[in-house]
């Protein structure tokens, strides 16, 4: 990038600043609202900042009534288990499909590829019945089960990494008498860390934010964070400044994670595109 004229550089800052305003402006009234009192909310414009930035009443109320802490905990449990299972299965399937020639390999690979044609939303009429018969509806394992399947994007990410790990490495270990399990566990897996990070980031964000599946399978007893936030919102009796506070609290966890992992997230997301 050598020949950036002055005009171009000015244009860049103007456009990027405008783009940031486009992102931030819709969020600002939500932030204001979360700190306003009930009367302030109904008497002031959404564009007016709250009088008292230290008014945490709405937040306390939201946490207590919405059971947000419990819901966040549930989401954490679901994410931890399903992401672990998914990562395990994805690396296993990818390793076998990438390194071994065996009868049926092509068919199995094709079966995984073709899932990209089957959107989740088009199968739930039947999947719900299956999960229902397993007795898992309204219980956490339902969502965990649905989240832990292997998807083709994951396989592509892993293949990309496996391409860069020489097969001679596996073979020499085999000659030294290591079992396949051992080769996979102590040689291949450690070398696949970057691909695993990418997969964890993509699906971690996706599952953390997912509303469709938990809303369908966890209607009673247990709720995830997104479903708990939604309950708030669907309840018209809740004053809207409380809803705003709850939603603002909903933004906090993902922003904290983002600030700590920004570099990895950006790398992971663009990396996935490349593969």
């Amino acid at each position: 990038m050598i020949n950036e004229s002055k005009l171009y550089r000015v244009l860049r800052y103007v456009f990027l600043t405008a783009a940031c305003m486009f992102v931030i402006i819709p969020i600002i009234p939500l932030v204001f609202m979360a700190f306003k009192t009930g009367t302030e909310y109904s008497s002031t414009s959404v564009l007016v900042p709250p009088k008292n930035w230290l008014n945490f009443y709405n937040f306390k109320y939201a946490i207590r009534v919405g059971n947000l802490g419990k819901a966040l905990f549930n989401t954490a449990v679901i994410l931890a288990i399903s992401l672990t299972l998914q990562l395990m299965f994805t690396t296993m399937v990818s390793y076998v499909l990438h390194r071994f020639e065996f009868r049926g390999r092509k068919i199995i690979y094709t079966l995984f590829v073709l899932t990209m044609f089957i959107p989740v939303v088009t199968t739930q009429t039947v999947v719900f019945q299956i999960v229902y018969r397993m007795g898992l509806v309204n219980r956490m394992p339902s969502v965990i089960l649905l989240y832990s399947g292997v998807n083709i994007v994951g396989i592509y990410i892993m293949f990309n990494q496996l391409n860069s790990i020489p097969k001679e490495l596996d073979e020499s270990a085999l000659i030294d008498g290591a079992s396949y399990f051992r080769i996979f566990g102590s040689i291949i897996l450690p070398l696949m860390k970057p691909a695993c990070t990418t997969l964890l980031i993509i699906n971690g964000i996706g599952y953390y934010n997912d509303f469709y599946i938990p809303n369908l399978y966890l209607r009673k007893n247990v709720q995830t964070f997104t479903v708990a936030l939604h309950k708030f919102f669907g309840n018209t009796a809740t004053p809207f400044e409380i809803v705003a506070a709850a939603i603002l609290l909903g933004i906090v966890p993902i922003m904290v994670v983002f600030l700590f992992l920004q570099r990895y997230i950006f790398y992971g997301l663009t990396g996935a595109v490349k593969s």
Binding site: N3, M116, F128
Partner: protein, 289 residues
């Protein structure tokens, strides 16, 4: 790879659970759904064969045709969304002060969930909300509208939210594509006295045109599957229902599982067409071992 006695067992152990999962939660459901779409099935009594009756209703009843018409708004919104994302990617691709700040802010919407985004935009489109307040403040109060209650405006209004929500994903894809262009190409162009604008026109755009195409098809298949925003914001009211909202309504609230299956299959077919075109274009798609 060298074969030993344990090879087959190893392969079997590693593939068994994921394959069962694949069959039980993807293939058996979609095949069952094709069958159910030709039946009247309420989820309890045994399915009864009705031929193409479910599909006939979908293609003739205006209330169901409207579901797909609503999706067109989301496809339309994808055009400014892609243009915006592309320009962003071009500007961010380079070295300049504040790049990390801009990248950080610009990716925020992509990280937020549907409930949060719905709340933000209810505040945005409300009668005394952000948009109308801004319009009034800058003297354009005449344009202020009941955005979510005006039956003509509600669909374009909520479809436009998808620009805000999803441009980040397109931006990342374009950005990834631009980063993959070899630096020598730019250097050679610079030596020939190429300006930045010519460089974008003759190097950047042609190099990522296939990513643009993939993004267009992703938007089409995404538009047909829209669910969260109209469901959470409007509960599908005021004529904002989409095929997926209707699937959920028919299958789980009204017990018309056969009909919901037919609607699912229709969505499925549209996605199959979009994804097939995308795969044909995306040569990188078939990385094989």
């Amino acid at each position: 790879m060298v074969k030993t006695k344990g090879t087959k067992l190893f392969i079997f152990i590693f593939l068994f659970i994921p394959l069962i999962h694949l069959l039980v939660f993807s293939y058996i459901p979609i095949i069952t759904n094709i069958y159910l779409s030709f039946t009247s099935y309420n989820g309890v009594n045994p399915p009864k064969w009705v031929g193409f009756r479910n599909y006939e209703r979908l293609f003739t009843d205006p209330q169901y045709i409207k579901l797909f018409r609503n999706c067109l708004w989301y496809m339309l919104a994808a055009i400014p969304q892609l243009v915006f994302a592309f320009i962003l990617a071009v500007f961010v691709n380079g070295k300049f002060k504040g790049i990390n700040f801009f990248k950080g802010v610009l990716i925020v919407p992509y990280l937020l969930n549907g409930v949060i985004i719905s709340t933000i935009f209810i505040i945005f489109f409300n009668n005394s909300g952000t948009l109308n307040s801004i319009l009034r403040a800058i003297g354009l109060g005449g344009l202020a509208q009941q955005w979510l209650h005006n039956l003509r405006l509600v669909n374009p209004a909520i479809a436009s939210i998808s620009i805000w929500r999803y441009y980040g994903l397109n931006f990342l894809m374009f950005f990834g594509g631009l980063q993959a262009i070899p630096a020598e190409l730019y250097e050679a162009a610079a030596m020939d006295g190429c300006t930045k604008f010519k460089e974008i026109r003759y190097i950047s755009i042609p190099s990522i045109v296939h990513i643009l195409f993939i993004n267009v098809l992703l938007s089409i298949s995404g538009s047909i599957q829209v669910f969260e925003i109209p469901y959470i914001m409007m509960n599908g009211a005021n004529g904002t229902a989409t095929p997926v909202i209707q699937i959920q309504q028919s299958a789980f609230a009204e017990g018309r599982v056969g009909f919901a299956a037919a609607l699912s299959i229709l969505v499925f077919i549209i996605v199959v067409i979009a994804v097939s075109l995308q795969r044909m274009f995306d040569k990188k798609g078939d990385i094989s071992a």
